[in-house]
């Protein structure tokens, strides 16, 4: 969407466009300004499919975005997104007779969710500055998120240096969409949580071919941060220690693979059990197998440092973009992200963009694949997103612009998550959480 507008007044400030493009952001900022006020309206449609291996989660998303000039100095943005998610997610890890954990994924039964997002923002262009204000709302079957942000950019040193400051606030309502037709569903709960973000950054033109940028951000989450859908296997809380006696993991694998749980869910027997006043299925499972709730601290703070560099290569009419991000987390899930993207101009308004991304995180201090007993502080989770792991993404994007009015994009990504890819490989995690996914997306820009 970084419209390279050729109109009279605005096109003189191409550097400003570049700097803001370098600061281009997800979320509200996906509707980000091109760095100077566009004199044309830009309409974008985007469609993407996300698929995890093994018929787990799949997501289809459609997005429409419009940016348009308002008056002499303002620019307005509106963004609408709809996601449809289906499939299954890991619920708990059961143990086999050797005490090894195995993921229990309730395939064919669990998730069918729709997310709708509406965002709008207004930007003001000063002589050497840009200010914006945006609000948004995201709604799911089990989640409502209201959020807003302000940002300000000040250009200095004949626009070779830009300072950026931003703040954001998110207020969420979260509950589990209790479905009595699903095995091991908890009764409905309702909670709130908040997120506060602050960010400062500086972007510097080093020379005729290189731009660098440094961002520092602080993110604080508070409220209910536990996952109401996930359970934790605690050996001491079970009726007996099944290890060496019964292959509990194998038993649950069998009843899932044989379609027994799906049959129970579809036949209404699960609903009958869940709604029966005589049987507490969740309580019974907890009593027998020691299944406890995912329990996390009610606050979290992360410091993030982002270093970016972009360098133009004249011989190949290409640019290499390098990002490095480090996150320091009060839950100890510290991470490194390194991303390289190579944009190559092929002529006739064709562009090809291969890229690679590497991500590595350590495990949260309360994460494990299962627990022998409830920890003293009571915090415990088997959520695979809190494990120690690494991930490698391979990406390829192709775009073509026609008559400066239409641009078509196709992007593909293949993502491999492996416990063994973690830097150092010293923290808790297991290959049971390894998986792959693919993203394929199509977009079109239309300027008028």
């Amino acid at each position: 969407m970084a419209a390279i507008n050729k109109s009279s007044k605005d096109k003189t400030d191409a550097l400003s466009a570049l700097l803001t493009a370098a600061l281009a952001l997800p979320g509200i900022s996906a509707a980000a300004p091109g760095g100077y006020r566009a004199s044309e309206t830009l309409l974008n449609f985007h469609h993407a499919d996300y698929d995890e291996q093994g018929n787990r989660m799949s997501v289809t998303t459609d997005q429409a975005f419009i940016t348009t000039p308002v008056g002499r100095d303002f620019e307005g943005h509106f963004n609408a997104i709809q996601d449809v998610t289906s499939g299954a997610s890991p619920v708990v890890n059961f143990l086999d007779t050797q005490g090894n954990p195995h993921q229990f994924v309730e395939t064919g039964a669990s998730i069918k969710d729709r997310r709708e997002i509406y965002e709008t923002s207004l930007g003001y262009y000063g002589d050497n500055s840009y200010a914006s204000f945006g609000i948004g709302k995201s709604t799911e079957d089990d989640y409502i998120s209201n959020y807003g942000s302000v940002s300000y950019r000040l250009d200095l040193n004949q626009k070779q240096t830009s300072l950026l400051a931003g703040a954001g606030m998110t207020s969420d309502e979260v509950w589990n969409s209790y479905n009595p037709d699903v095995f091991l569903e908890e009764p409905s709960i309702y909670n709130r949580r908040k997120k506060r973000e602050l960010m400062v950054g500086i972007s510097q033109v080093l020379n005729q071919t290189t731009v660098v940028q440094l961002n520092v951000a602080n993110v604080r989450n508070s409220g209910s941060l536990s996952d109401p859908y996930k359970k934790v296997y605690v050996v001491d809380e079970g009726i007996i220690d099944f290890r060496g006696l019964i292959n509990v993991a194998g038993l649950f694998d069998f009843i899932v693979d044989a379609g027994l749980i799906e049959a129970l869910n579809r036949s209404g027997i699960t609903r009958l059990l869940n709604e029966s006043p005589l049987i507490d299925v969740v309580g019974l499972a907890s009593f027998i197998f020691g299944l406890e709730k995912d329990t996390r601290p009610d606050s979290r703070e992360q410091w993030l440092i982002l270093l970016r560099a972009s360098h133009y290569f004249e011989a190949t009419n290409s640019a290499l973009h390098v990002d490095y991000r480090y996150a320091d987390d009060s839950w100890d899930a510290n991470s490194h992200t390194l991303e390289l993207k190579w944009n190559v101009g092929l002529g006739a308004d064709w562009q090809i963009s291969p890229g690679v991304r590497y991500y590595s995180q350590s495990s949260a201090f309360f994460y494990d694949t299962f627990f022998e007993s409830i920890p003293e502080d009571g915090y415990m989770s088997v959520d695979y997103r809190l494990a120690g792991f690494g991930a490698i993404s391979k990406k390829l994007g192709v775009s073509k612009t026609f008559e400066r009015a239409y641009t078509f994009y196709v992007d593909f990504e293949q993502y491999e998550r492996r416990h063994s890819y973690e830097i150092g490989g010293e923290t808790k995690g297991d290959a049971i959480d390894d998986y792959d996914f693919k993203i394929l997306s199509f977009s079109v820009d239309y300027r008028f």
Binding site: I28, R115, K137, Q302
Partner: protein
């Protein structure tokens, strides 16, 4: 990786960047900015796809953000 080592590495990289070939600082006049304004220098020419990618990462990894402020959350599984 040790936190101190990571931050030290980052700081070192930041300080060494200007020493790399092609990364030395030279003031740039307005008429010298043609290469910087080349479309290939726009990191994310398709921000809708980039935003979706970041949403996927934030729902599958423990770290989110650092690029901007203002994105909403999700009840991702």
């Amino acid at each position: 990786m040790n936190k101190g080592i990571a931050l030290g590495s980052l700081l070192s990289c930041t300080l060494l960047l200007p020493c790399l070939p092609g990364c030395a600082y030279e003031p740039v006049k307005a008429y010298q900015r043609g290469k910087l304004a080349n479309p290939v220098m726009v990191r994310d020419a398709n921000p809708a796809h980039s935003a979706f990618e970041q949403h996927v990462y934030s729902s599958k990894e423990s770290t989110a953000g650092g690029y901007s402020t203002g994105a909403g959350g999700c009840g991702c599984n």
